[in-house]
Symmetry: C2
Subunit: 343 residues, 2 copies
Amino acid sequence: MELDQRKLQILRAIVDEYILSASPVGSKALSKGGMKWSSATIRNEMADLETLGYLAQPHTSAGRIPSEKAYRLYVDQMMQRAHLSDEESKLLYGYFRDHVHGVDAVLRSTAKALSEITHYTALVMMPDIGVNRLRHLQLIPLTPGKALAVVVTDAGVSQNTVIDVPEDIGPEELDRISKAITARFSDCRMSTVSSKLVRELGGELSQRAGFVESLLSRLCESQSSDRHMVELSGTTNMLEYPEYSDVNKAKTFLATVEQKDDMYRMLKKASSMEFTVTIGSENEQEGFQDCSVVTASYRVNGTPVGSFGVIGPTRMDYARVLSILKNVQTNLSTVLQSFLKEE
Amino acid sequence: MELDQRKLQILRAIVDEYILSASPVGSKALSKGGMKWSSATIRNEMADLETLGYLAQPHTSAGRIPSEKAYRLYVDQMMQRAHLSDEESKLLYGYFRDHVHGVDAVLRSTAKALSEITHYTALVMMPDIGVNRLRHLQLIPLTPGKALAVVVTDAGVSQNTVIDVPEDIGPEELDRISKAITARFSDCRMSTVSSKLVRELGGELSQRAGFVESLLSRLCESQSSDRHMVELSGTTNMLEYPEYSDVNKAKTFLATVEQKDDMYRMLKKASSMEFTVTIGSENEQEGFQDCSVVTASYRVNGTPVGSFGVIGPTRMDYARVLSILKNVQTNLSTVLQSFLKEE
DNA sequence: TTTAGCACTCAATTCCTTCGAGTGCTAATC
DNA sequence: GATTAGCACTCGAAGGAATTGAGTGCTAAA
């Protein structure tokens, strides 16, 4: 079913207006607000748009609100890219310039930037360590039988895991094992380190093959159970919107967004795409049926390693959010690049 | 002003009832609910208690609600310690048994346990690294000019900080410096390491005195700007209570509780005391004027290094919360002790 | 000193009315 | 044939009056 030019214009006006006001848009308001047709004409078109499924009426004597189908169309075809003002760009840039204390800090700062500038809730996924290449592994003795494993990858990501160590391995040997593993597996992807290469251990490591094997598998597995996987920011921003003036809705939303495992899965899935826009019931999460999620991926050395995004009510300002995400994506890749400077 | 026995009994009954129901308590209800005096008598006593400042009336034709003064009295003198059921104790213990992946994980688990069992919001402060003794320092090269500093203390706490390194220091020298510092400062308190001992550097380190000095001060300073200082859990639990059925109140609360710096300061202050109970306006935070905060401290090697607590509405179940905190305190110190096993 | 009794208060609830934004339909107009 | 003016109609929101009932203070009797 094709929509003619006029229907498109009217639909767009309705979506734009509803994004601003959150209240149903009537034909008269549209007609007065710069549309070149009378309210009656608009009314007829709106009736058509409703039967086509693009609009809905909360009740007979109210205006129309856009359906998810309308948002979909809006995002895919009608939306005009918003332009960020210089101030905003500068503001955004500021969040990145001052945080050069490592990947973690930058990504946390990203989340904060996103939530503060969009006024929605921001999510940032920590980079997937599996695709990164090992730079350095260091085992640090804690107590007899326990050690701390610190992993550094080419993306600068580090991760600490407490591991069990056979009691007969002393501090010096831990150090030697660290150096040996670093030398042997340097520049291998984390995900392949444990699976493929464990068998090829030679020299000193062969005596400790069992330990090394369990160590490496532990490192990969601990990543998925790690708590820093997702950084959230601005969760309470949503309470500003009339959609969440009901505490129960707010609670449902907050509870959903704090399921970090789910959020991680969502972002991970999205990280293979440059951008995604998921509207209302397109979301898998129960609690996001009235929300939209917009994400962008970020890369290190050309490989997508993670994604970040924004959650807002379905009537979110998609154009603006996408512009911001694009801007952040650029900033982020620049900063991450500076951490990795291939030698 | 002394309260006679009967006034105390009535006051306690009102507080107990109000903690449960959150709605003003009337004389009739009390009289029917097991009090041995008629509603009229109770009414007279209530009028007295009101003029004494222990009760307040939302409006003329409503029952009475306890004032902060009443809660204070209740907590200090009237409350009977609640007894945790065996199931609850077991449940609590379960949170600790399974999380032996390091201090961080245990404390996060503590927060979760507290919030889930109390149904309030839980806060746990990460241990103050300054009072702990250095076990191991390891500098791991990242890129030329940058390195990752990993600090391990006697409490098992570790912390990563990205630091700048003069370009002429290579990986081998970083390793040597790490070992030298570890050897020299092992078992010194972190807080004294940088201030006192920097001058006494001898041997190899003296050539790099400038670098080592900046490194050590950076380590101590970075702790205070660290983001993991406070672990929050169950922030949305508060939305269950009628006190927060108004979204604005909820928002104020959530915004306050997410000011991690403030929360850290609050907990840090409380960590010198075994237990604290701070009621309503006794709280410094604007957003906690209708909340109470109950905390307990935890120790490592006999030194208090941090605290944890619960935030709830002023009508929280103080007796129960205190019992739970006490139980958690015991569990926590046992588990932390197991991390430190002095060799 | 305690309590029964009673008049009084006031928030909460319910029911009604009014108001107005918005609609659909029809007939006149371009 | 498309557009628009006009009009009756719908229905939620807002406001107001009446009702209800839990709770009080006060007084007088036990």
